[in-house]
């Protein structure tokens, strides 16, 4: 079955480039130049992935992210020019799955689309309960964590933090998402909790905490557990 991709981008050159290079990969690509057009296509063309550029002529991308997540459970990838970290974070908080910074290569874009599709439907109840990547095994059902063959003892907060990342393995989870879901909404600004707990978690799980293999930092945005 051909996967349908919706590209929301108002710049004609980039739109054409994305359309042709993604079509070559076998996607059925539809394009929209505005939020309103994208909404219509979301309803009628039923795409499998949305590629959303920031700064559209008729409004804010976050509305579209909400629509795509709530009504259709489609993965959304945000594409942005650099120095819009805050905007990027806002859309990820609103439910976008991942982001790409312009300029980007087609190879990277395809890899991100593959990850997003693999985890399609993660908004449904815990699709992933066992995470296994060479050396690290997290079993959410049995509440068991093993690193390099040895069981790892985690404090409740450390475990919750890791579990949250496991449920979105391979995708970015923003600081705000982690803080509100692990500590509670009133801790949304306490980024230092994350710094300190991530350091502890890395010390227990990673072989070289200063060059982590699993618990990756997305500078200025959040964290990502390496895709299994």
């Amino acid at each position: 079955m051909t996967l349908r991709l919706l590209v929301v981008e108002d710049d004609p050159a980039i739109r054409t480039m994305l359309q042709s290079s993604l079509a070559v990969e076998g996607f059925d690509v539809r394009t929209a130049v505005s939020i309103s057009e994208a909404r219509a296509l979301l309803r009628h063309a039923a795409p499998d992935v949305v590629l959303l550029d920031l700064g559209l002529p008729d409004g804010d991308g976050s509305d579209l992210v909400r629509d795509a997540r709530q009504q259709h459970a489609i993965p959304v990838l945000v594409v942005s020019a650099r120095h819009q970290e805050a905007e990027k974070v806002r859309l990820l908080d609103a439910g976008a799955d991942d982001y790409l910074t312009k300029p980007f290569s087609v190879g990277e874009l395809l890899a991100r689309i593959r990850v997003a599709l693999r985890h399609r439907g993660t908004s449904l109840p815990a699709a992933l309960t066992v995470y296994e990547s060479d050396g690290l095994r997290v079993d959410l059902g049995a509440r068991r964590v093993e690193a390099r063959g040895h069981p790892v003892h985690l404090t409740p907060t450390e475990y919750q933090l890791l579990a949250r990342l496991v449920r979105s393995a391979g995708k970015v989870v923003t600081h705000r998402q982690l803080l509100t879901e692990v500590w509670g909404p009133e801790f949304a600004q306490h980024t230092h909790y994350l710094r300190l707990y991530m350091a502890q978690l890395r010390a227990k799980i990673e072989e070289r905490p200063e060059e982590p293999r699993y618990l990756l930092t997305e500078t200025g945005v959040g964290y990502r557990l390496a895709a299994a």
Partner: protein, 499 residues
Amino acid sequence: MSTAARSSGPPDARKVRDGWVGCGLLVAATVLNLLLDRHVSVTSEAMVYVLALVLASYTLGRVASLCCAIGAVTLLNFFFVSPRYSFRVDAQENLFALFALLAVALVISHLGTGLRRETEAARLNERRARQLQEMAVELAVAALPAEVLAIAHRNLNRAFPGPCTVALLDAQGDLHLRAEQAPLRDGLQACIREAATLGPGTGRWPGLQAWYLPLRTESHTGGAACVQNVSASDNGGREHAQAICALAGQALWRIRLAAAMRDAQEQSQWHRAQSTLLAAISHDFRTPLAAIMGAASSLQTQGERLPPLQRQRMLATILGESRHLATLTDNTLQLVRLDHAGEIPMDWESVEEIVGAVLARVRQRDAAHRIQSQVPARLPLIRADPVLLAQLLENLLDNALKYSAGRIDLDVRQRDHRIELAVLDRGDGIPAGEEAAIFEPWHRSDRSGQRGDGLGLAVGRAIARAHHGELSVRRREGGGSAFVLVLPVEAAQPVMEPA
């Protein structure tokens, strides 16, 4: 009305006081003489009056002192010279004594008042000199014309009963006056126009009741002052007012020169920045654009006829040059942004995390695994913008990969209230004497044939400074360079909530 009362008040009061003091002295001398009358001769009684006159002449004004002298002679004649209690004089000797006393009294009065006037003049001059000295000290630290205006106004008010007015000229040559000062405008403008003091005693506009003085130096007039209710004879006062105004004028001139110099420096800096920016844009941006356009247009028009290898090479050129252009654009924008940002938003960040994220990215370009990192555990958190710091670190590591061949060390250390991040390579090193220049935007000392954008280090230093830190370079013993980023650590570290 009120000003007239103010000016005539003190002299009148003084005359009345002089009258009472004079009468008191004469009464006291007469009473004393009446008490001594039985024991002493009329000569001694005359001496008592002389004593009273000496006191009177030193404490009273000229007129009161003269009146006292005449009064003393009259009283001596009436009470003590026979026949007593009449103004007649029977003996020739007594008549002579009275005339002698009158002459002595007049001479004493004259000498005494003269001495007093000189003493007062000396005191006044000393006070004025001290005031000018204090004013000069105050003016030396004044940085704004408004401060000079306030100082001049305060000093004129201290020196003269006034009222006094000071007004400044603006850049357009208009005088700044409040509504109630408007009637003085003509006089103030006239003294500025004539570049001289106008008013009583100056020979110009002598009919006025006020002096109009320009605040000026040889080459510049900064404003004008008006001192009201003055007299033509007060030469010392006028000179003092002129001295105050001259000091204020000099201060205004100094402030104006300083401002002009600052403007000129800023202008020349701006022009220099603009011309380096334009030169850089015209060269650094056009070169990759030319390569991209050349390769792309060649592929478009001759694509069919080119051998596959050459097509691949041209595509690689387009990709490589585009990447270069992207970095160049990012760095240019970053530099402009940091220059105008002021305080950047910062949060608690972990150095270990930032280093880890940067290494993960740079390793992709470090196929030979040349970068060795040393990051101690349990580093304190720092206040930072992580994206900017990561950019800085990535820049340093990329430079090291590009300009050196051997091993590259990334050392992180904590020293007291600082964290030091050092990137050490074994390349050719920075040429001696260029350690400071390489941080200047668009600077090039590169002789390795590698192409840089001349901006990475300038952006790096701007990022370091935005974090209240510093980026510096030194030559390593045995060859190579060490780029060291020093960041401050706040003593008050955030704490974890009890788990």
